[in-house]
């Protein structure tokens, strides 16, 4: 209890434990959860050609069009990687084409990234804009009078059938289409933050030791196991509360789907035990809470990244996927993936929960051994 009260009294904890996780879920959802189609910038005057090109691009399902006022702005956006490529339709394009000349459309892309490939998409839009003019020009070129050529072209367009390009998709999606914008971010961040909060709790363990509270308790008929158990229980409750809070908050704010509620709760409990074990171990490894804090942040963020809390495990390479299995995060993330993406039940996540509990037990055993050493060997 003393541990809990000490935790609540520090107001900055409120930010790190309750505000920050929601902020990050929001940020990740906004960055990756939404439409990730490549953005193509467009600079165009009021003319017909520019309009046609812009509309043709906007009609493409996997391209997002962004308008820019000037070519300079568009070029720096491409250079800085804000957008993938750009098109510049000169203001006099319509006049040039009407006067029988060639209208020069500029495609702007970097040599790296997707830019060069996106030229095909822009070329298609330009071909749409040029179709009618090209037909009229060709027929006029055969010596036909302009007005007659235009009429013939209009009629020919109705007679010549279109050649359809039909697009179908195949394969099983890595992430189901029903997956909400915030679903991946929410479950991976709950894992990251619960562990981080656990490690931050190691500072409290160090304080308990430094202030001599633990040594004094040892003087009473209290075993090392009881001290470790008490400290661990305090951390466990805090970490679990944070986990439950994030789950409820993301359901309320972002309508995140967590799957089977009982199974999700079981995973949270198992992972909270891991967080508590890690807090205890850290608390016995360091004597200076600033050092523990620094190493804790690195370990917390680093292990989370390795365990698939920053990039979904499905997108890992083989080697990194194997390494990931050495982190408790990977097992928790995998359990949530079962629940959220594969509609799993309690039975499906039992293996992962088992591994997590084994992690927790291992950490606590080592922590108890370390605690006995640091408290008795002086």
């Amino acid at each position: 209890m003393a541990n809990l009260r000490r935790f609540v009294r520090d107001r900055s904890n409120i930010f790190f434990v309750f505000v920050l996780p929601i902020g990050i879920v929001l940020l990740i959802g906004a960055q990756f959860g939404g439409d990730s189609a490549p953005q193509v910038g467009v600079v165009t005057g009021p003319g017909e050609i520019g309009n046609t090109i812009r509309n043709a691009l906007a009609a493409e399902p996997e391209i997002a069009v962004v308008d820019y006022a000037t070519e300079d702005e568009l070029v720096s956006a491409v250079e800085r990687g804000t957008i993938s490529a750009g098109v510049v339709v000169p203001a006099d394009a319509d006049a040039m084409v009407a006067g029988g000349e060639t209208g020069d459309i500029g495609f702007i892309a970097r040599p790296d990234g997707l830019g060069p490939q996106l030229q095909a998409v822009v070329a298609e839009a330009v071909a749409v804009a040029a179709a009618q003019t090209d037909t009229v020009r060709y027929v006029s070129g055969l010596g036909v009078e302009a007005a007659t050529a235009a009429n013939a072209a209009s009629e020919a367009v109705t007679q010549v059938p279109e050649i359809d390009v039909t697009v179908v998709t195949a394969g099983d999606a890595l992430f189901p289409a029903s997956l909400g914008q915030f679903d991946i971010g929410a479950s991976s961040q709950v894992v990251l933050f619960m562990f981080l909060t656990g490690l931050a709790g190691s500072a409290a363990v160090i304080q308990t030791r430094k202030l001599g509270v633990a040594t004094r308790m040892l003087g009473t008929p209290t075993s090392v196991g009881t001290i470790v158990g008490g400290e661990a229980l305090g951390r466990f409750v805090i970490v679990l509360l944070q986990g439950i809070y994030i789950v409820i908050a993301t359901i309320l704010l972002f309508q995140v789907n967590w799957g089977d509620p009982i199974a999700a709760m079981v995973v949270l409990v198992a992972f909270a035990a891991v967080g508590a074990g890690a807090a205890l171990l850290f608390g016995t490894l360091f004597t200076n809470d600033q050092q523990a804090g620094g190493v804790g942040v690195v370990a917390g963020i680093g292990l989370a990244a390795l365990g698939g809390s920053m990039l979904p495990l499905e997108l890992f390479g083989d080697t990194m996927r194997t390494i990931a299995n050495f982190t408790p995060h990977a097992w928790a993330n995998e359990a949530f993936a079962d629940l959220v993406r594969r509609e799993g039940t309690l039975a499906d996540v039992l293996p992962e929960v088992g591994v997590l509990l084994a992690f927790a037990a291992g950490l606590l055993i080592v922590a108890t051994w370390r605690m006995r050493r640091v408290l008795t060997v002086r």
Partner: protein
């Protein structure tokens, strides 16, 4: 001023003896950047990488149109933009798209050429892998552009026939000729420079700045510590002005932050292959960033009454700015978030490095100016606030 330096030298010695500064300032950013790079390397960012899209083709037609199309594809392949895989039949092609061997497969059906030439409707199919929407989009656009050209030829030939300038027997030849005539709209490519950091450098630079905040914050916390321990009172009893004490503390933070940055730049260049760009430009920009960060942390610390409070407030500000500035989650795309990120020194530092990477040192000037303005504004306000705390 001598007093300020004496205090700075004492503080430096104290901080070096406490190993946390090395952990937070050097080991932490390097270790995290290493992990981020191992996971994200190439996965999340394609800066500096030339991409080749895997596209398959099934030619069951083997007629003139299908041949012309595969020639177009071969041409694009020779440019290095796509890599073609030929499948014997539609079933094999579908399997290739399904299991992600290729991002998309063209199926040129058995009657494609004859249907188009005879003037009946025809269709060309693109089977796209569900997780490769961009490759599928590009594959479909390549096909659309090709079929538009074919149809343009056919339309021109039919129009010429309607206008009476050619006979029905000339249709096919004229269609081919018209399809190859240059269009009234020419698409020219302007190659843009890459003003963006490669993923390794991006992560190292972003994380370095993030951890610099914590080093910078120590100037205020160490003063509040001195107050708690009573040593501040003793300093004030000596003939030292409060300004000198604040200056001494700030100088310490600036020096430690600059040294940490120098070590990080050198270490990441040799250990991880980071490419920071011109040393002079990096030095100037890093100097401005350090001043801005120390200023912001002084300002934030100025609101606090105890060292714990200051440390907590500073952590909150550091984490928030890093988040918005794209340190943990790179922010790309045009939108509210990328505009919002420009309130952070983190984003300006990264942008300045990127601009210099794609141009010259002069291109880093806007970022330098913004950082210096942040430093001046936050620094002046911060010092005024902190002076209040210089009391017993």
């Amino acid at each position: 001023m001598t007093a300020a330096f004496t205090i700075a030298i004492k503080d430096l010695a104290q901080r070096i003896r406490d190993r946390s500064v090395f952990i937070i300032g050097i080991i932490a950013p390097l270790a995290l950047a290493f992990i981020f790079n191992a996971i994200f390397g190439g996965g999340i960012s394609d800066v500096g990488e030339n991409i080749t899209l895997d596209i398959g083709v099934v030619d069951e037609d083997r007629g003139p149109i299908a041949t012309a199309f595969t020639e177009v594809l071969a041409d694009i392949e020779s440019g290095g933009f796509i890599e073609l895989t030929t499948y014997p039949d539609e079933a094999a092609g579908r399997v290739g798209a399904e299991n992600g061997e290729v991002g998309a497969v063209y199926v040129l059906g058995p009657s494609l050429s004859s249907d188009i030439i005879s003037g009946s409707g025809a269709a060309l199919t693109v089977i796209g892998n569900v997780d490769a929407p961009t490759t599928t989009q590009i594959a479909s656009s390549i096909a659309e552009e090709f079929t538009l050209a074919v149809r343009r030829g056919n339309t021109a030939a039919v129009a010429a026939l309607i206008a009476g300038s050619i006979g029905p027997d000339e249709l096919e030849a004229v269609a081919r000729d018209a399809g190859q005539t240059p269009s009234a709209l020419a698409l020219g490519t302007v190659e843009a420079a890459t003003r963006q950091l490669d993923p390794t450098t991006y992560f190292v630079a972003g994380l370095s700045v993030f951890f610099l905040f914590f080093i910078a914050g120590m100037s205020v916390t160490s003063m509040l510590d001195e107050r708690r321990e009573g040593t501040l009172g003793r300093l004030l009893a000596a003939p030292i002005s409060p300004g000198s004490i604040v200056a001494g503390k700030s100088i310490t933070s600036v020096i430690i932050a600059l040294v940490a940055m120098l070590i990080l730049v050198i270490a990441s260049t040799f250990l991880m292959g980071a490419d920071w760009g011109s040393p002079l430009g990096v030095a100037v920009l890093a100097f401005a960033a350090v001043l801005a960060i120390v200023a912001i942390m002084t300002l934030v610390g100025g609101f606090a009454h105890t060292a714990e409070q200051a440390g907590n407030l500073q952590s909150i500000v550091a984490v928030t700015l890093a988040m918005l500035g794209g340190t943990f989650v790179p922010i790309s795309g045009e939108g509210f978030l990328s505009t919002l990120s420009l309130i952070t020194p983190n984003a300006w530092f990264l942008r300045g490095l990127g601009d210099m990477a794609g141009g010259s040192i002069a291109d880093g000037l806007p970022a330098f100016v913004v950082l210096m303005v942040i430093a001046a504004v936050a620094g002046t306000t911060g010092l005024l606030l902190v002076r209040r705390s210089v009391r017993v």
